[in-house]
Amino acid sequence: MKLEVKNLVKKFNSVLAVNDISFKIEKNKTLGLLGPNGCGKTTSIGMMLGLITPSSGQIFINEISLEPKNRIKLLSYMNFASPYIELPKKLTVRQNLEIYARLYGLKEIDQRTNEMIEDLNLQKFLNKKTGELSSGQKNRVALAKSLINKPRLLFLDEPTASLDPDIGDFVREYIEKYKKKNELTILLASHNMREVERLCDEVIMMKHGQIVDRGTCIDLIQKHGRENLEDTFLKIARSKSELE
């Protein structure tokens, strides 16, 4: 699915959280959304998921506007994973996956649930309550939920935050493999620059609600004369903008 954002603005009273951002993600590409804390990434994702009403601007998914009348239909092709949201803790992993499979209107519920269980190695804790899992296990379950509807547009907000390097690598590798086998466009917000370099085709740098730079990781590194994306990020984040 193609995602296009045009002149998106979000104002919370007098605070300009997102200031006229525009970008496009072509089908099957992964775009990294980078920026320091409070730069407007989560608000932007919230608007793209239809959870926050933009003050102005438009969002198109496969050229269909994400307005209230189209929202439900478009949401069935989308999904989202973030360590800051959770699945019901008192329900088992299988129950949670079953419920979300039903909520996304899947017909072959058992088949899809079993596929996700096998793919993400969830068998061992399938009947455990989700709240009793370790962060790594929870993260894999959240990823399974975010892929249960075979989304064609996936939003990932810091998908490997708080994971140990081994599980973090497992998640990144799984996303890479999944993307090779399935049609999937990803918008990835992350503070892990190595993750961004590995997964993203292009990157957008945000600061104070605005897009301050964009390009491939290599282009940005070269443009700012740095050795890696982390240094490039630091240079952009610490530079004084016109707003300051």
């Binding site: 239809g50 926050i52 019901p88 803790k89 039903r102 996304y104 309550k129």
Partner: protein, 263 residues
């Protein structure tokens, strides 16, 4: 409306209840305590008052009906709060579900939770106090439906507050019904209230429901126009509740509070 999605939302709460014995016990415990408390108070009144011939029956029936209203509303609020407490709110609102489906699922599941608590308590009242709510006969069905509509409406108004103000509105959720109880004239006739308060009280369906209950139990008269009036008032409040919920949801989307809502 997609009934499969409504079923899925209800199933989430059924799994939650089914998976926890203390939760089931909690649902049964409070209505039972309420019945026993009012049962003994009523018995005391019977021995010391000549006003009602059937005090135990009237007061205890009122307690059961009021508890039905209370449980309906609290069940509705609790199910919504569960989503906030479990930080599942965002997942729910990014799933392709219409607001009307969420309202329908909460409404249907609330009756399930309510009955788990109230049926055992109402049955216990028969052997312990010789009071059967079923003595109200066919009108009981209409009284329960009316109470249920109003209970769900109160639930809708409180959940609107939760959507609008976030988890900090939780305390209001618990207090909402106690606020209405004195005006509802559950245990006493409306004439007890000062005149100006009677006018306000009559705007609530509760007064008509409980007046009717007393009419049936004391005078053995069924006044269906009173029941229809109560149902009509409840339905108007329900429509107001639905509109308020939609407005709160729109407001929450404007303020960006739907993302990352939780405790």
């Amino acid at each position: 409306m997609n009934w499969n999605k409504i079923f899925a939302l209800s199933l989430r709460h059924v799994y939650l209840i089914k998976g926890s014995f203390p939760r089931i016990l909690d649902l049964i415990y409070w209505p039972t305590i309420q019945i026993f408390l009012w049962g003994f108070i009523s018995k005391f009144f019977t021995l010391n008052s000549t006003f009602y011939e059937n005090t135990v029956g009237v007061i205890l029936s009122a307690a059961i009906l009021y508890d039905f209203l209370f449980r309906s509303s609290i069940s509705y609020n609790m199910m919504f709060l569960e989503e906030i407490w479990s930080r599942n709110f965002t997942n729910l609102f990014i799933a392709p579900i219409k607001l009307s489906e969420i309202i329908a699922a909460l409404t249907f599941t609330a009756i399930f939770r309510t009955l788990i608590g109230l049926v055992p308590a109402a049955l216990l009242a028969i052997p312990f106090f010789g009071v059967s709510i079923y003595k109200l006969g066919v009108p009981l069905i209409f009284l329960l439906i009316t109470l249920y509509i109003f209970g769900v409406t109160l639930g809708l108004l409180v959940t609107s507050g939760l959507v609008r103000f976030g988890p900090s509105f939780e305390n209001i959720a618990w207090a909402s019904l106690f606020f209405l109880a004195p005006l509802g004239c559950i245990y006493y006739p409306v004439e007890i209230l000062p005149e100006w308060l009677q006018i306000i009280a009559k705007l609530l369906p509760l007064v008509h429901i409980f007046e009717e209950m007393r009419n049936i139990l004391i005078y053995d008269i069924v006044n269906y126009s009173q029941i229809i009036k109560a149902t009509f008032i409840s339905f108007i409040y329900f429509v107001i509740g639905v509109i308020t919920f939609y407005l709160s949801y729109g407001g929450a989307k404007n303020r960006g509070t739907l993302i990352n809502m939780g405790e």
